[in-house]
Symmetry: C2
Subunit: 111 residues, 2 copies
């Protein structure tokens, strides 16, 4: 059986922008992938699109989050749905963490 | 455009077992649904199966989590993948919260 349990302690934290943005791929399987992204204040996730559907949950901090031209502030406990191919991006206004879940899996995160 | 943003403050907390287990449906759309489940210590989510794939993230507390006969303890930051139709359940051993994401959406949670 493929791994079903993904203890935090066993996962790799990948630096995307040194000292600013890093990522941990968490539980995944079938059509689902969970990814935590850690931001320092002032760091951005540039606007982009992908064919995957996404939901994101703010674990900590504060983010200006834009989807298809609509911007809101996400704080701990707030969440957002990103339709397939919707333009979206974020600016971290207070150091924090987002939990992103994709369907299908982001194969581009596994290289 | 359907709602994309799901501020915590605007969501309904539904009691499943009075004083023991409650649920908040968070961001959802397309093939994704995010649901937070709040447990008191000693409360259980009885073993069950569903056709939906699921990933779960431990937001707080501690849970004995069983999938297809394999049991592990989940603490904050730990996560698990539940394949479609896999038998799974949990016992909360320290009051806490799980963030469950399903594909497709759990239409049975919307009644």
């Amino acid at each position: 059986m493929a791994d079903l349990f993904f203890p935090d302690a066993g996962l790799v934290r990948e630096t995307l922008e040194p000292g600013r943005v890093s990522r941990v791929v968490r539980a995944r399987g079938g059509g689902l992938m969970m990814v935590e992204v850690l931001f320092e204040g002032g760091a951005a996730g540039a606007e982009h699109r992908h064919a995957h559907e996404q939901v994101s949950y703010c674990l900590a901090g504060a983010f200006q989050f834009t989807v298809e031209g609509e911007t809101r502030t996400l704080k701990t406990g707030d969440s957002v749905f990103i339709p397939a191919s919707a333009l979206h991006g974020t600016l971290c206004v207070e150091a924090g963490r987002l939990l992103d879940i994709f369907t299908p899996q982001r194969e581009d995160f596994l290289d």
